[in-house]
C-alpha cells in the first residue's frame, strides 16, 4: 500500500504536476526573420510633414471631441495653483464647436441643430490659427531636412519657411509648449455660452 501510494504520488507529480510557468517578458513587436528590408527614401518627406501637421491641427482643434460639460467639472486642479497656470489654461482652451460648425437648421439635421442664440460672430472671435497647435513643437522633419540640406540643395527654401514659422510663433506664443502628441485634456468650454469667460478669452488672445 505504501508503494502504491508512493507510486501514485510519483505518477501524480510527474504527470499532473504544475511547474512554474517560465516568465518571459512580453514583447509587443518581437523580431521576425525573413521579412526583408523596407524602402527608405525621402521623396515622400513633404507628404509625411503635411500629414503630421494635419494631425496636430485636429488634435488641438475642437473637432477632437473630449466630452461635454462633464469635462469642465472634472478638470484636475494642480496641487499648487500658479498665476501662470491660469493664463496657460485659458490660452490653451479650445474654441467651442459652434465657432466652426454652423449649427443652424440649414446645415445640420433638425435634431442636431442649435437655436440661433449666437449667430453674430465677429470674424475676429474665431481662431482659425491655433497658437499652440504645435507649430513650434519639435518638428521631427526640420532636423532631417537640415541633414539633407547638405546633400540636396533644394531643401533651402523649405528651411526658410520653417524658420519664418518659428519666428512668428515665438513672437505670438507666451510660453514654450512641448506637447508633441500630447492628449492632455484642456479645459473645454462647452456650448452653453458663458459670456464672462468668452470675454476673458478675448483679452488673453494674442491679436492676429
Amino acid at each position: 500500500m505504501a508503494f502504491r501510494g508512493r507510486g501514485r504520488g510519483r505518477g501524480g507529480f510527474g504527470g499532473g504536476g504544475f511547474r512554474a510557468a517560465k516568465q518571459e517578458p512580453f514583447e509587443l513587436y518581437p523580431e521576425l526573420e525573413d521579412l526583408g528590408t523596407a524602402e527608405y527614401s525621402t521623396r515622400n518627406l513633404q507628404l509625411i510633414k503635411w500629414y503630421s501637421n494635419l494631425q496636430k491641427y485636429w488634435n488641438s482643434s475642437p473637432y477632437y471631441y473630449e466630452g461635454g460639460s462633464e469635462r469642465t467639472r472634472n478638470v484636475q486642479k494642480p496641487d499648487v495653483e500658479r498665476l501662470s497656470d491660469k493664463n496657460s489654461q485659458v490660452a490653451n482652451a479650445k474654441p467651442p464647436l459652434w465657432h466652426f460648425i454652423k449649427l443652424d437648421i440649414d446645415h445640420v439635421p433638425a435634431e442636431l441643430a442649435r437655436g440661433d442664440k449666437k449667430e453674430k460672430l465677429g470674424s475676429k472671435r474665431v481662431r482659425w490659427n491655433p497658437e499652440s497647435a504645435g507649430m513650434h513643437k519639435l518638428d521631427l522633419f526640420e532636423k532631417l531636412e537640415q541633414k539633407h540640406q547638405g546633400q540636396e540643395g533644394k531643401e533651402n527654401k523649405e528651411n526658410e519657411d520653417q524658420e519664418e514659422d518659428d519666428e512668428r510663433n515665438e513672437e505670438e506664443a507666451e510660453e514654450e509648449f512641448s506637447d508633441e502628441g500630447d492628449y492632455e485634456q484642456n479645459e473645454y468650454f462647452d456650448d452653453d455660452e458663458d459670456d464672462y469667460n468668452m470675454a476673458d478669452d478675448n483679452d488673453d488672445e494674442p491679436f492676429f
Partner: protein, 525 residues
C-alpha cells in the same frame, strides 16, 4: 457592409483624429448600419449630449450623412418621420490620403490654392466667408478678391464641391415599406434596387449643374443683384456675403450660406488615372504611357462616375495634338501613336474614315489587381504556387488536380499540397466530384473566384494598414520624451535615438503610402 478590419482601421483613424467619443459612434454606425439618434445613444452608452456633439463633428467632417425616412407604424397612427445616420466609410479612409490630395493641388494649382485647400481638409466644410476670414489670419493675408479668385480656380478644377443636403427626405418605396430597423435593411435582392444608404447619398448630393457653381444669378432680379455692377468696391464686400439662389432659401426664408468641401471623387479619379499610367509605363512602354496620359487628360472632364469602364472616344487627331504637347511626346508621329494604342488594347479601325479610340480602363485596373495578388502568392507560397495560381486565374473555370499538375509541370503530390494550402487560406475554391464507374474515384476540382478573394485581400490590406499605423504611434510614443526636448539638448545618445526615430517614421509612413496605393486599387478604382 464593410469588412472587419476595414471597420477597425476606420475607427482607429477617427479615434486618432477626433477622439474616442467620435470613434465609438463611428464603430457603432459601421458595424450596425444606419441608426437613429436614440439607437446610437443606446448602443454606444454615451450621454445624449456627447453623441449629439460627435455627430455634429462627424457630419461636418463628411464622415456621416443624415437622412429622414418615414417610419413604419402601427395601423391607425400617423406616419412618423425619423432621422437616421449612416457612416461614410470611404470618406473616413480618405483621411489617410489627404497628403496625396494636397500634393495634387500643390502641383497643379500652386501654393495659394493649397492654403485654402488645407483649410477645407482641416475643417471638412467651410463657407466662402469662413474661407475669407480664415485667410485673414494666415501669413499671406490677401485681398478678398484674390481669395475669391483662388477659390474659383479650385472650383474650376473640380477639387471642391458643394456640400450635400444635411437631411434629405426619402419618400417611401412603392414596392416595399421603408425599413425601420437595421435588420430589414439587408436587401434580399442584391443588385439593382439601391440600398437605403445609396438612395440617401443620391438624394443628398447636389445637382450636377450647381455642384461646382459658385453663385446662381436669380431671375427674380433683386435690386442688390443689379446693383452689383454699379456699387463701388467697398460695398461689394458686403454683397458677396450673400449667395443668391432661389433653390437654397432656408427655412426662415433668408438666403443660406453654401458650404463647400473637398471633392473626393475627383481626387480618386486622378489617382486612378495615375495608377493606370504607372502600370502602363511599367508593363508596356513609355510611349504608351504618354499616349494614355494624353487621352486621360482630354477625357477626364467627361467622366460621369468614378469607376468608368472605358474612357470617352477621341479622334486620332485630338490624340495627336495632345501627345505632342507632352514631354517626350514631341517626336511621336501617327504611326507610333497607333502602335501604342494597339498595345493599350485598342483596335485599329479598318475603314479609316472615323478613326476614334477609347481605352478600356477597367481592363488595365484588373490587370494591375491580378498582378498584385499574384505577387502576394509568389511571396507567400513560392514560385510553383505562383504558376498554379496564375493558371487558375487565367482559366476562370474549375480544373482538376491532375490537369493542373500537367499544365504547370509540378509534381502531383506537390500540386496537391500547394492546392490544399491555398484553399485553406481562402485563395481557392474546391469542389469534390465523385464518379461512380468501375472504380469509385474522387476528383478534386479547383477554381479561383475573384470576388470573394478580392474582398479577402482587401481585408488583409486593411489589417496591414492598421498595424502600420499602430506601429507608428507606438514608436512615436516610445520616444516622446525626446520629442519634447528642444533641439539644442539633443546630443550624443539622444541625438542617435532622435535620428533613428526619424528614419523609422519615414520607413513606416512610406510603406503605408505604398500600401494605400494598393488599397485604392482594390477598393476605389
Amino acid at each position: 457592409m464593410v469588412s472587419q478590419y476595414g471597420i477597425k482601421l476606420a475607427t482607429y483613424l477617427i479615434s486618432f483624429s477626433y477622439g474616442d467619443f467620435c470613434s465609438k459612434v463611428c464603430e457603432c454606425l459601421l458595424s450596425r448600419g444606419s441608426l437613429t439618434l436614440a439607437q446610437i445613444i443606446r448602443f454606444t452608452e454615451l450621454s445624449r449630449e456627447n453623441v449629439i456633439n460627435c455627430l455634429r463633428v462627424l457630419i461636418h467632417q463628411n464622415c456621416v450623412q443624415a437622412f429622414s425616412i418615414q417610419q413604419e407604424v402601427a395601423f391607425g397612427e400617423a406616419p412618423k418621420i425619423v432621422t437616421q445616420y449612416t457612416a461614410l466609410f470611404d470618406n473616413m479612409i480618405h483621411k489617410m490620403r489627404f497628403p496625396k490630395f494636397m500634393q495634387i493641388v500643390s502641383k497643379e494649382l500652386g501654393e495659394d490654392c493649397l492654403g485654402i485647400f488645407e483649410g477645407l481638409l482641416q475643417h471638412g466644410r467651410l463657407s466662402l466667408n469662413q474661407i475669407i476670414d480664415r485667410n485673414k489670419q494666415t501669413p499671406d493675408n490677401s485681398d478678398v478678391h484674390v481669395v475669391r479668385e483662388t477659390f474659383s480656380r479650385l472650383l474650376n478644377a473640380r477639387f471642391v464641391e458643394r456640400c450635400p443636403a444635411p437631411e434629405p427626405f426619402l419618400a417611401p418605396h412603392e414596392e416595399e415599406t421603408p425599413a425601420k430597423k437595421r435588420g430589414t435593411k439587408s436587401a434580399k435582392i442584391a443588385e439593382a434596387p439601391k440600398t437605403i444608404e445609396q438612395r440617401a447619398l443620391a438624394a443628398a448630393a447636389p445637382m450636377e449643374s450647381i455642384r461646382f457653381l459658385m453663385e446662381i444669378d436669380t431671375l427674380t432680379g433683386t435690386s442688390e443683384e443689379k446693383g452689383m455692377e454699379s456699387q463701388n468696391i467697398a460695398m461689394l464686400d458686403e454683397k458677396w456675403k450673400q449667395d443668391f439662389s432661389d433653390a437654397e432659401l432656408s427655412a426662415s426664408g433668408k438666403k443660406k450660406e453654401i458650404l463647400w468641401r473637398v471633392n473626393f471623387e475627383e481626387f480618386m479619379r486622378r489617382l486612378r488615372h495615375k495608377a493606370c499610367m504607372e502600370y502602363v509605363i511599367a508593363r508596356l512602354s513609355d510611349q504608351s504611357g504618354i499616349v494614355l496620359s494624353a487621352i486621360l487628360e482630354l477625357t477626364r472632364s467627361s467622366e460621369t462616375r468614378l469607376k468608368t469602364d472605358k474612357s470617352a472616344s477621341l479622334s486620332i487627331n485630338d490624340i495627336y495634338d495632345e501627345v505632342i504637347k507632352k514631354d517626350g511626346g514631341l517626336g511621336m508621329d501617327f504611326e507610333r501613336i497607333r502602335a501604342s494604342l494597339v498595345q493599350l488594347g485598342c483596335q485599329i479601325p479598318t475603314t479609316g474614315i472615323d478613326e476614334t479610340y477609347s481605352i478600356d480602363l477597367k481592363n488595365i485596373v484588373e490587370l494591375a489587381q491580378n498582378e498584385e495578388v499574384e505577387s502576394v502568392v509568389l511571396k507567400r507560397y513560392g514560385r510553383e504556387a505562383y504558376r498554379i495560381f496564375r493558371l487558375l486565374s487565367k482559366s476562370g473555370r474549375l480544373l482538376e488536380t491532375d490537369k493542373i499538375s500537367d499544365t504547370t509541370f509540378v509534381e502531383k503530390k506537390d500540386t496537391l499540397k500547394i492546392l490544399y494550402k491555398l484553399w485553406k487560406d481562402g485563395y481557392l475554391h474546391m469542389e469534390k466530384v465523385s464518379v461512380n464507374g468501375p472504380k469509385q474515384t474522387l476528383f478534386l476540382l479547383w477554381e479561383m473566384n475573384k470576388e470573394p478573394l478580392w474582398l479577402r485581400v482587401l481585408d488583409e490590406m486593411y489589417h496591414a494598414a492598421l498595424n502600420l499605423r499602430l506601429r507608428i504611434t507606438y514608436e512615436l510614443d516610445q520616444e516622446k520624451e525626446i520629442l519634447q526636448l528642444p533641439k539644442e539638448k539633443l546630443i550624443g545618445e539622444l541625438e542617435k535615438r532622435y535620428k533613428r526615430l526619424g528614419k523609422v517614421r519615414i520607413i513606416l509612413e512610406t510603406s503605408l503610402m505604398n500600401l494605400d496605393d494598393a488599397l485604392m486599387l482594390f477598393r476605389d478604382f
